[in-house]
C-alpha cells in the first residue's frame, strides 16, 4: 500500500447570504417536508459577486432525530451578468425538540448547529465563472429563522 494522499486544502470561494419566505410545511411518508423559497440573496467573494436571478429554494426533510436534510437549487447572476446554477445537498444537525417547533410553524432556529453543504455548479464554458465547474466545493453555515449564511470553500 502506498501512503495516503495528502488531505486537500481549502480556499474560500464566496459567502452566500439567503433570506427565505415563510416555509411550506407538511408531513410526508419520508419525513417532515419543508420548502424554503429564497426571496433575497447575496453572493460575495473575491472571484464572484452577485445575487439570485430567480428565487429558487431549499427543499428540506426534517428527520425525527432532529437532523435536517437540505436540497437546494438556485440561479445566480453575477455583477458581470454571468448566470451560475447552484445545486446543493446538505445536513443541519438541529435538536429533536426543534422538530415540534418547526411543525408548529415556528421556523427553524439552528444558529449554532452543524450545517454543511456540498454545492455543485453549472457555469458557461469560457466565462469567468468556469472554475466553479472544475472543482469540488464544501459549504459551512448558520441557519437563523428566515436567514442562512454559508461560506463556500473550494476543495483544492
Amino acid at each position: 500500500m502506498s501512503e495516503s494522499a495528502a488531505a486537500p486544502a481549502m480556499k474560500h470561494a464566496f459567502r452566500l447570504e439567503l433570506r427565505f419566505d415563510k416555509p411550506l410545511e407538511f408531513p410526508s411518508m419520508s419525513g417532515e417536508r419543508g420548502f424554503f423559497r429564497i426571496v433575497e440573496s447575496k453572493v460575495e467573494g473575491e472571484r464572484i459577486k452577485g445575487s439570485i436571478a430567480d428565487d429558487g429554494g431549499d427543499w428540506i426533510v426534517f428527520r425525527p432525530d432532529g437532523v435536517v436534510e437540505t436540497d437546494s437549487r438556485m440561479m445566480i447572476r453575477t455583477e458581470d451578468g454571468v448566470l451560475v446554477y447552484l445545486r446543493s445537498r446538505g445536513v443541519i444537525r438541529a435538536r429533536p425538540e426543534q422538530l415540534a417547533l418547526f411543525k408548529a410553524g415556528k421556523g427553524l432556529e439552528a444558529g449554532e448547529a452543524y450545517y454543511r453543504t456540498a454545492p455543485y455548479f453549472d457555469a458557461p464554458a469560457g466565462s469567468n465563472c468556469e472554475w466553479l465547474t472544475k472543482a469540488l466545493f464544501v459549504g459551512s453555515g448558520r441557519f437563523h429563522g428566515d436567514r442562512a449564511t454559508l461560506d463556500i470553500y473550494e476543495v483544492l
Binding site: D21, L24, E25, F26, P27, S28, M29, S30, R33, F35, R37, A53, D54, D55, G56, G57, W59, R73, M75, R77, L83, V84, Y85, D122, A123, P124, A125, G126, E130, T133
Partner: protein, 157 residues
C-alpha cells in the same frame, strides 16, 4: 405478464415566468434554463386545487435540441393538503416546431401531436386521503401553452 394500464389522475395547468433565464453554453454542451413557477390550477377525479407560487424548472437543453426537464413545485388541494411534485422528462420535435414552441405568441397553437412532451413524475404528500399519490408511478403527457404548460398525469397500474 399483464401490460401496465394508465388511469387518469389529474391535469395541472401551470403559469410560468417570462423571460426564462438561459445559461449558455454548458461545459457538457447545450444550455441550462431557469423557469419560475408563478402559479396555476389542477383538477382530477378525486382532487382539485391550485399551484403554489415558487419552485421551478431547471431544464438542460441538450446539444441535440432535446429539453430534459427537471422541475419541482407544490400543489395545494382545496382541503389544504400540500403535495410536492418532482418531474423529469423530455420535450422534443423538429427544429422548426421547437423554435415555434420556444416563442409561442398569443393565440398561436401548435398541435400537441407535432411534438413529444412526456414526464416521469413523483408526488410526495401527507398521510391521508391523497397519499396514494406517493405510492404509484405516474406518467405525464403534456402540451406547451402560451403562458406555460398543461400536463395530464396518469397513474401506472
Amino acid at each position: 405478464m399483464t401490460e401496465p394500464k394508465f388511469e387518469f389522475a389529474l391535469e395541472v395547468r401551470l403559469r410560468l415566468k417570462k423571460p426564462r433565464l438561459e445559461l449558455s453554453p454548458l461545459p457538457v454542451g447545450g444550455n441550462r434554463l431557469s423557469v419560475q413557477i408563478l402559479g396555476g390550477e389542477f383538477e382530477g377525479p378525486t382532487l382539485k386545487g391550485t399551484v403554489e407560487p415558487g419552485g421551478g424548472e431547471w431544464p438542460h437543453v441538450r446539444e441535440d435540441g432535446v429539453f430534459c426537464f427537471d422541475a419541482r413545485y407544490h400543489l395545494r388541494v382545496d382541503d389544504g393538503t400540500l403535495i410536492m411534485i418532482q418531474n423529469r422528462g423530455y420535450r422534443h420535435a423538429s427544429p422548426e416546431v421547437m423554435e415555434k414552441l420556444w416563442s409561442l405568441r398569443p393565440g398561436e397553437e401548435v398541435p400537441p401531436d407535432a411534438y413529444y412532451l412526456r414526464s416521469m413524475t413523483m408526488f410526495e404528500t401527507s398521510p391521508g386521503k391523497h397519499d396514494w399519490l406517493s405510492r404509484y408511478v405516474f406518467v405525464g403527457v403534456g402540451e406547451r401553452t402560451e403562458t406555460g404548460n398543461k400536463i395530464r398525469y396518469f397513474k401506472v397500474v
